[in-house]
Symmetry: C2
Subunit: 324 residues, 2 copies
């Protein structure tokens, strides 16, 4: 089955959707991108998903019957048993039976996964975590997402996806995160948290380069702009990022002690914009924090696949599930 | 193979060693207990281990050839690839090639596991986590041990055992744990930490019943004695335990967010002595702390197997590994 078939990986984001067909060597056969138009409602978005998959199918140069499976990366909570998207705030979705809809339309197995889980699985299947045994991924973005692969299997709960790294408590007290929790990784190390701290620095006059670029609106303070401001000499912004990296290191200590991974992948826009700062900094903090017997047992690397991580991973995960 | 064979599970503790033979239904065929005599050195202890296994074998009523595998629960760090016990402080061991020694002697596969990992696996195989899919175990003892089972497999790193729950950071600052770490679970929720806080309460005159029983020597303040003092009305001791339970609840929040387990097992002497306090308290704190979408997705239960958890689990894990 795996010799001749192909798989489709799909990344359903809040602003854009991206899909591609892959053969058994992860060569891309076709690719399609569309705006999501989440504001037009779930029915419209689902129709756009179906249309995107149809286009990827028809342009991949393979027979209809060779499609082995579809993997869907979804930015939300999924009921893994029923294949229902329980809640996806960026899509405005609640209780959408996505798996059933797609399986009825395309007549092949459909596998849903959390978007960051799929991204980490992509890096494991064909990116910077290729060949590793136990992989943990940390992707700081709007929040902080995570994923874990153990012996080729994505770590998922029985009914819920796992690895909600952003909401693990790491310190006492402090500001609330997006889920009204104190002391979590997300409160310090998400892009939102870093942007908010940087906007305050702009307001105080402590980040002159950033001020020239964007001012105090944190929605404008994207990863690339933070990297530029540091490159141009905004020491305060650099310290804010280094402080965040310290907490990612602290989270890595937790993850190393729990999972004993051999590879840890850092990904997402912030890491792409400042790979050295994130990877080196996390490495330093982690080595200082882990127990002696864990030192040197893991590598920390930057993700390689960028925007394609989730589609590669969704396709690879659909393939893995079909092989079982 | 599994129809006719039997397995031996072995728990190598710092003060005693315990071994038993099990058939495929986890019925115990024979059982043997010895003092470890760790102070007499690794060679003596290994000889006692061999002797104990020989006795379990000869008294189990099965043929020599029916022994399918031996599982060894070891209180220390193990190199899983080489089967070498890297460090076991309670035994005074460093770099003991236990797997090779046993395989050469008994001519069957030998599997080594961390003692708490084996205990959690025992509860999964034939105890209070039977039938669950993803299991996480927390065993507060001298330190705080943990274990995790995912789809029938013990979570282990490629080279190191995992789930060092006692050393995950949960708060900022505070006293050092046994590995010189600040803010870890062990600093609040281990039996040592609880006993130390209780000994201080005795010293301050705030725990009259405990004072009558044992005084301020924390080595004397064992789990059963703590339970008695609470039962007799030492409110300060009760508060100390409740405070520890709050931190176990906080650790459960981390574990639920990372593993999405369907069952969480609390075990060890403290939990056996005060099951209600630990299970109910942890449940309350965890439900308050987890994200809404994880509420009600897991159960928290007390371990059932007591001292037998590790031998059942070691045997079951050897069996699982042999089946692969």
């Amino acid at each position: 089955m795996c010799e001749k078939g192909y798989w489709i990986g799909f990344d359903l984001g809040g602003t854009k959707m991206l899909a591609a067909a892959y053969d058994e060597n992860y060569s891309q056969l076709s690719r399609e991108k569309k705006r999501t138009k989440a504001l037009e409602g779930a029915e419209v978005v689902v129709e756009r998903v179906l249309d995107t998959i149809r286009k990827v199918k028809s342009s991949c140069g393979r027979e209809e019957t060779e499609l082995v499976g579809i993997g869907m990366a979804v930015p939300g909570t999924i009921d893994l048993e029923t294949g229902v998207v329980l809640e996806a705030p960026n899509l405005g979705w609640e209780n959408v039976p996505l798996r059933t809809i797609l399986e009825e339309e395309f007549g092949c197995p459909v596998v849903l996964g959390n978007d960051v889980d799929c991204g980490v699985y992509g890096e494991y299947a064909n990116g910077s975590a290729r060949g590793a045994c136990n992989v943990v991924g940390i992707f700081p973005g709007t929040g902080v997402g995570g994923g874990c692969v153990i012996d080729g299997m994505l770590l998922q709960g029985k009914r819920r996806t796992a690895m909600e790294i952003g909401h693990i408590p790491l310190y006492s007290g402090g500001p609330l995160d997006g889920a009204f929790r104190e002391g979590t990784l997300e409160t310090v190390a998400s892009r939102l948290a870093i942007s908010a701290a940087s906007a305050q620095a702009v307001f105080r006059g402590a980040a002159p380069n950033l001020k020239k670029e964007v001012g105090t609106d944190l929605a404008d303070i994207r990863s690339g702009i933070l990297a530029d401001s540091i490159r141009q000499g905004d020491k305060t912004v650099e310290k804010i990022v280094q402080h965040a990296v310290g907490y990612i290191g602290k989270a890595v200590v937790t993850l190393v002690h729990l999972f004993s991974p051999d590879r840890i992948v850092l990904g997402g826009g912030l890491v792409e914009a400042m790979p050295e700062l994130f990877v080196e900094g996390t490495r330093r903090h982690a080595e200082k924090g882990v127990l002696k017997s864990f030192r040197g047992t893991y590598e920390i690397v930057a993700a390689e696949l960028g925007d394609d991580a989730a589609i590669v991973g969704a396709a690879a995960w659909a393939r893995k599930k079909a092989e079982q």
